[in-house]
Each structure stands twice: as C-alpha cells, then as structure tokens.
C-alpha cells in the first residue's frame, strides 16, 4: 500500500470519526438531543441543502449554543496537533510541543495584562487580539535571541524558549498578585477553556488555520528530511535556515491563533502527534493530516467531558488529566533514548 493511499484512507476514516464525535457531542448537555436529530439539524443548516424538520429549541441549542464551541474545539485541537507535529519534527525532539518557543506564555501575558491592567490597550486590542499579538511577538523574540549570523541552532532556540517562558511565567505571577477582583477570570483563562464561545470566536482561527495548514503540508517532505539532521538535510537539497524560519513562523501563528481564543490547553499538541506516530509512522506526509484530524476529535471529545459534569471544568484540566497518564504510559512502554 503506498503512502498516498494510506494517507487518504486514514484521513477519510478520521474525518468520519470527527463527524461522529461532533454529532454525539452536540447532543450531549443539559438538554439531551438524539444523534439522529442532531444530524438532521446539522444537515438542514446553512451550507447544506436538506430541509429536515426539527423543533426550534433543539435547532437553537445545537446551532447557536453547542456548535460554535464544538467547532472551535475542533479547530483548536486541529491547530495544536498540527503545531505539535511540526515542532517535534523541527526540534527532532519527541518532547517538543507547540508552546516550546514561548507562544503560549506570550499569549498568556497578553491576555492576563488586558484583564488585570487598568487601562485599555492601544489600537482597540481586546483580550484575544492582545493575546495573539503578544504570542507572535514572543515567538519572534525567541527566534531573534537564538539567531546569529543567519543561523538558528535548534538547541539554542529550545533553551531560549525555556528561558523566555520562565521569564514570562514570572511576569504572569506578578500580574496575578495585582489582579484583585479579576483573579478568578485570569485563572480561568490560564487553565484553558472553551466556555461561552460564539461564532465570532471561531472566525479568526477559521480564517488563519486552513492556508497555513496547506502550507505546512507542502513542507511535509522537507520536515522528513530535516529529521535526518540539518547537515544531511542541506546535503539533500533543503534550504535549511529558510525552511526552519517558515516552519517556525507558520506553526507559531497557528498556535497563537488557538491559544489566544482558548487559553493554554496543554498536552493536545504533545500526545496526539505521539500517538499518531505510533500508529502511522514518522512520515510527515501522513503524520501531519492524521494528527490534525485526531487532535480535532480529541479536543471535541475532551471538551464534551469537561462540560458534561455537574459543574463545567476548564478543558485544559481534562486534557492534562487524561494526557499526562497517557504520556507516562508512553514513556514507560517505549524506550525514549533521546531528548
């Protein structure tokens, strides 16, 4: 079976799984709606031509209340898994995750600052905008710190990322102390959440993600070659530094678009690529699309869990609570010889 047929087969299967998860998730909540009804409602909605009859209340619950949140979860899971795959390949390090160059910390500082600081940001930046801008600026700053003479050694980048994250962590703590009344809101944001999503929240990531994902797919082969090491990659015709810059920029923007809306949702970008690598192998041409789709399903499913309890918990808690044991299992069951 060629890689292409495997990729198409897996992608179709995972897309079907995602559709299933979305339909089931949209039916779960304080008002339970059967999957068949949900499917009918979805297929009668805007882009689809069908006109199934359904109660207006169910229609509103599914389309206006639950679906925005589910679609956002799908986009964010898709984005984080994509960025995770790229970062793990980029750093040739299975422990890398989307926020390794400080994107998440950067977003957190921006978000927390807009909540805590008593003045409004210039240019009418709201919380999400500020988080996005500071996330991208942080990644760019880490890149600049680690770059000398046009070369960005990945080890330097990694360490610079760690240092900057630590520094920003201190900034966040400082802001927390002075947060006063808004402490609860800050903590809630930092934990990663999808509650209260409207279609407006979905818009930004829906616009940013698709083109960048296509771009990264086109570089899947380069990522494969980069896994052999930079010197080898150069000898095999890869413009190493240019490719690294592009991969870093694209995955940082993808991550920033996700965490700016939802806060820091851990482990999706770490364990989904890992699990998919175990199943489909390390080739990025299949790993990238399958991880992205699996990441979408994973986050929709975990967010459904997060909101279906007696009290809603931030989804970041659920992903971490499920992800960390799974990751430890991976650590124990597979020999991890390299960092």
């Amino acid at each position: 079976m060629t890689l292409r047929t495997r990729t198409i087969g897996w992608s179709i299967a995972l897309t079907v799984a995602l559709a299933g998860v979305v339909v089931v998730s949209a039916g779960i909540g304080p008002v339970s709606i059967s999957p068949v009804t949900v499917a009918k409602i979805l297929l009668s909605a805007d882009p689809f031509p069908f006109g199934f009859a359904a109660a207006d209340t169910s229609r509103i619950i599914v389309l206006d209340v639950r679906l925005p949140r589910i679609v956002l979860a799908a986009f964010v899971g898709f984005a984080l898994a994509t960025a995770g795959v790229v970062m793990q390949g980029f750093f040739r390090n299975p422990m890398a995750d989307p926020s390794i160059v400080g994107v998440s910390s950067g977003a957190a500082v921006g978000a927390v600052a807009t909540i805590v600081l008593p003045f409004a940001f210039p240019f009418g930046l709201e919380l999400q905008g500020a988080a996005f801008v500071s996330a991208v600026l942080t990644a760019f700053g880490v890149y600049l710190i680690a770059t000398r003479d046009g070369h960005t050694p990945t080890a330097t980048l990694l360490l610079a990322g760690v240092a900057v994250q630590t520094f920003l962590g201190a900034m966040i703590s400082l802001l927390l102390i002075h947060s006063g009344q808004s402490l609860r809101r800050v903590v809630y944001w930092l934990m990663g959440h999808l509650g209260g999503t409207t279609w407006d929240d979905v818009l930004v990531i829906a616009v940013i993600l698709p083109p960048l994902f296509v771009l990264l797919l086109l570089y899947a082969r380069d990522l494969n070659v980069l896994l052999l090491g930079e010197e080898d990659a150069h000898a095999l015709g890869i413009e190493v530094e240019r490719t690294k810059r592009l991969l870093l920029a694209a995955s940082s923007v993808v991550t920033a678009a996700a965490v700016a809306v939802t806060g820091v949702i851990g482990f999706v970008g770490l364990i989904v690529p890992h699990a998919m690598r175990l199943i489909v192998g390390p080739d990025h041409r299949i790993l990238l699309p399958t991880s992205a789709l699996a990441g979408a399903s994973f986050l929709v499913a975990t967010d459904t869990l997060a909101r279906s309890g007696a009290t809603e918990v931030p989804v970041g808690i659920v992903t971490a609570a499920l992800g960390a044991p799974f990751f430890l299992y991976l650590l124990r069951s597979r020999e991890v010889t390299r960092l």
Partner: protein, 477 residues
C-alpha cells in the same frame, strides 16, 4: 552490482566521463571559524572517475574540505567548482544534484523505513508540487540493489546495525544520482569486514563513472583502494597524487608528526605504512642523551615473518641492522630489502649452505648484538643458530616454547640451550630495549629512560597487526 562497463580501472571509463576540465576544482580556498583558519590557501583539482582518499591528522581540515565541497560551508575566500559550477553560489537543491554526501554519523532518530530514507535522496530532483515519478522509483531501487540494502529496505532504520545503516545512507547518496560522491570517514565505525566491503563498493562505483572523495583514517586502506591520495596538513595540501608518491616517510613525518615506516604490503602489493612508537624515534634536531647507546651493529636471525617487525623497529631506532640468512621470497627478506638492509639470502626453499653460513658468521662477528627471532628451526636454517652462538651478546625472542618450533630434534635443542644460557630472553615487544641494554651492558631501564614502559605498550597494536598480516612462510623444506 554488475555493470557492463565496470572494470576496476578508472581510465577504462566511457569517453563521456573524461572531460578535459577536472570535475572538482578548488582554488585558493580559505575557510575559518572565528579566529581559527581551517583551510588556508587550498588548491586542488580532481579528475572525473577517480577515487580520492583524503588523509591527514585530526584537525587537518578533511571534514571542512568535504563540507566546502557540498556547500554546507561558505568559503571566506577562493573558489569551489564542481562540474564547472561554483558551489557556494548554488542553491542547496542545485548543489545536491551535483554532490552527494555520506555522513559520518549514521544514526537516525526516527523510525523511518530504510527505503523511506533512501527515497529522501530523490528530494533534489523533485519540485515542491511534483509527484513521485517512475524515474524516482527506478533510482531508489537501483541504489538499494547496488548497496545490497534491498534485504532490509523495509525495516525501520533504528533497528539496523551500523554497517547496514551505512549502506542505507550510501544508497541514499546514490539515489541522488550525482557525479560526485563525498564520504566522511566511511569506515570509522565499521569492523574490518565492513570497511573492506564499503571501500570495494565505492571502488566499483568509481569504475562506473562516479567520482568519490573519502576522508579515510586508515592510511593502508586508503592506499589500497584509492587512485589518488590527498594528504592534508595544517589546512594545506601536503601532497597529492598516487598513494605511493604521497605516502613517503618524510611526508608522513611532517604531516602526522609521527615516525612511520613505508613499505610494500607483502600480500596486496599496496603501499603499507607502519607507525612506530615515539620511543624508537630518531630526530636529528633533538639528539637524545642515549644516542650513542643506539648506534651499533645488530644482526637479526629470523625467517617466516618472525623478524620483519624487529627489522623495522631496530632500523628506525637507528641501529645498523643486518639480517640472514633468509630465503629469497620470505617476508622477512622483503622487509629487509624494503629497509635497504644488508641481508644474506639463499634460494627459495634451500637450506643455508657453507657459503651462506660463512657470510652469516662474518656478520655475527661484526655485530655488537645478535637478535634471534621466534623462528621455527629446521635442518635448513639450523646453521643460522649455530652461527649466532658465536655472538658477543644475544637477544633471544621467545614467544612460543622452542619445543613447539623445533623440527630437528635434540641437536637443535642443544644449540638453542647454548644460545639461551647467555642470551637475554625477551618478549617480541621488548626487543629494542633489550638490544640497547645489551649494548650498554647495563640494565634495561637505561634505554629510553622516561618513556619505555609507555612506548613498549604503544608499539603493541600497530606491530601486532603487521605480524598478523604477514603470512607464515616456511623457511625449511
């Protein structure tokens, strides 16, 4: 692995492979990192269809030159041209269609199938949007066949042995279908069998229109397999040409700062380099305190390769050495001839006759010391032993008990005992010290005062190898 135009002689290549312009032309190349200059005014031209061995001490700039040739490093100044293209000005894609590199480090961290790794060799020939073509498949299959890697092509590279991984990376380089192939220490982490197989393969590729440049540590492997050697020293070309013209004792001493003996390998006929321990060095600029103890005439009795090493070491240590009687064609005879020593010989398989015995006796009498190697004794060479009994001082090398190498009987036993009674009996490694001690009449510690234990242990690996590779000839018949 078979190719219709694949004789082992590069000059027999198809006409297309022999353009007038050299494939590789490096002029006045300078490369430095920070304040240190690694390559300093480097000029070299390499013709198409040659296998060039890059030799030289650590830090001479071998890897740097390879990295300049494949475009990884940009030169500070000077030109690097491959197939008439300036490598530093090419995109890495264009450069990787001209030059393929087999890296020294063959570890691959992710679990790609070997075939997937080889397929990456096609990257230079594919555009971002272009699909995989039949040409690509053919090139990959050819490369896997050539390197005999087909067998494990579908296994993850992480499960392959070092030798197998290297063949995968060689296949990857072949899949690039470049005129020039660079190999960085292709034999460094391989056992002797895989070293030879790798170099045989490169040799064969070169006979089929490739040009290969390989950094090789082992001078003797390099000499045996390469058409030309390029000796690097301090970032410059110290010598470039056929192995026998490059591997001279003077050139090696200058480049490696080590004492070496260059001879011809008795089996392969290639140039053969034997490194000698520092303790045995004679440097004119630095006369050692015990120089007078090292002068003197030493006669060596051996045969069947038992004495070759002592001849090398004693000659290098500055003694006036003679040898015999030995059969013509014996490896010891070859060794003595290579060192231009005074040697008494008899016909192949003949015994030592009265005339030869007289010649030996004259040399024994003239000698200040006689060394008797761990030789097998038959009626043919027993006269050598008898002659040795007349010596002033005897150093007897005993590796095996005499009974195991006595093919004469009680008579030889008697002669040997006479000899043994007044000899210094030593291990093969201790010969130079024992000789020096015998000549000075003192104890062994007076030779090479501060470094002798050290040097005796250092001599071991190199010389043992020589001894092992010399086939035991039969002096008696």
């Amino acid at each position: 692995m078979n190719d219709p135009n694949g004789p082992h002689d590069p000059s027999a290549d198809s006409p297309a492979a022999a353009p007038e312009e050299p494939l590789v032309r490096v002029e006045d190349l300078q490369i430095g990192f920070g304040d240190t200059t690694v390559l300093d005014g480097f000029d070299v031209a390499i013709d198409s269809g040659t296998f060039v061995g890059l030799v030289g001490p650590n830090g001479a700039g071998k890897t740097t030159l390879l990295r300049a040739l494949n475009g990884t490093l940009s030169p500070t100044s000077g030109t690097v041209r491959v197939a008439d293209e300036s490598v530093p000005d090419l995109s890495s894609k264009a450069a990787s269609r001209l030059v393929a590199t087999v890296p020294q480090d063959t570890t691959v961290a992710f679990e790609f199938d070997a075939r997937a790794v080889v397929e990456m060799g096609r990257n230079p020939h594919r555009s971002r949007f272009g699909g995989w073509t039949a040409d690509d498949t053919a090139a990959v299959e050819r490369a896997l066949d050539r390197t005999d890697a087909q067998r494990f092509a579908d296994r993850p590279v992480t499960t392959l042995s070092g030798g197998e991984r290297q063949r995968v990376l060689l296949a990857r380089a072949l899949a690039q279908e470049t005129p020039l192939l660079l190999l960085d220490e292709p034999t460094a982490s391989l056992d002797i069998n895989h070293q030879v197989r790798t170099l045989e393969l490169v040799r064969e590729l070169v006979s089929q229109n490739k040009t290969a440049i390989a950094a090789i540590h082992d001078l003797n492997l390099a000499a045996h397999y390469c058409d030309e050697l390029l000796l690097l020293s301090n970032g410059r070309v110290a010598a470039h040409g056929p192995p026998e013209s490059v591997l001279t004792e003077t050139a090696l001493e200058a480049a490696f700062d080590a004492n070496a003996v260059v001879s011809q390998h008795p089996v392969t006929g290639s140039v053969y380099v034997t490194a000698l321990p520092d303790g045995d060095r004679v440097t004119e600029s630095e006369p050692s305190a015990d120089a007078d103890e090292r002068s003197g005439h030493v006669h060596v009795v051996g045969g069947g390769g038992t004495a070759a090493r002592h001849l090398y070491v004693l000659d290098a240590a500055g003694f006036d050495v003679s040898a015999g009687a030995l059969n013509e064609g014996d490896t010891d005879t070859e060794a003595a001839r290579n060192l231009a020593l005074d040697v008494v010989t008899v016909d192949p398989f003949a015994g030592v006759g009265p005339e030869a015995r007289a010649a030996v006796e004259r040399r024994v009498e003239a000698a200040d010391c006689v060394v008797v190697a761990d030789v097998e004794v038959g009626t043919g060479n027993l006269p050598n032993l008898r002659a040795a009994t007349a010596a002033d001082r005897v150093v007897l090398v005993e590796d095996r008990p005499f009974a195991e190498r006595n093919y004469v009987g009680a008579e030889a036993e008697r002669v040997y005992e006479t000899l043994r009674d007044r000899a210094r009996v030593v291990d093969p490694a201790d010969v130079p010290r024992a000789v020096a001690a015998a000549l000075s009449g003192g104890d062994a510690s007076r030779f090479g005062v501060d470094s002798d234990d050290d040097s005796a242990s250092r001599v071991q690996p190199e010389s043992t190898r020589v001894a092992e590779e010399l086939p035991p000839d039969d002096v008696e018949s």
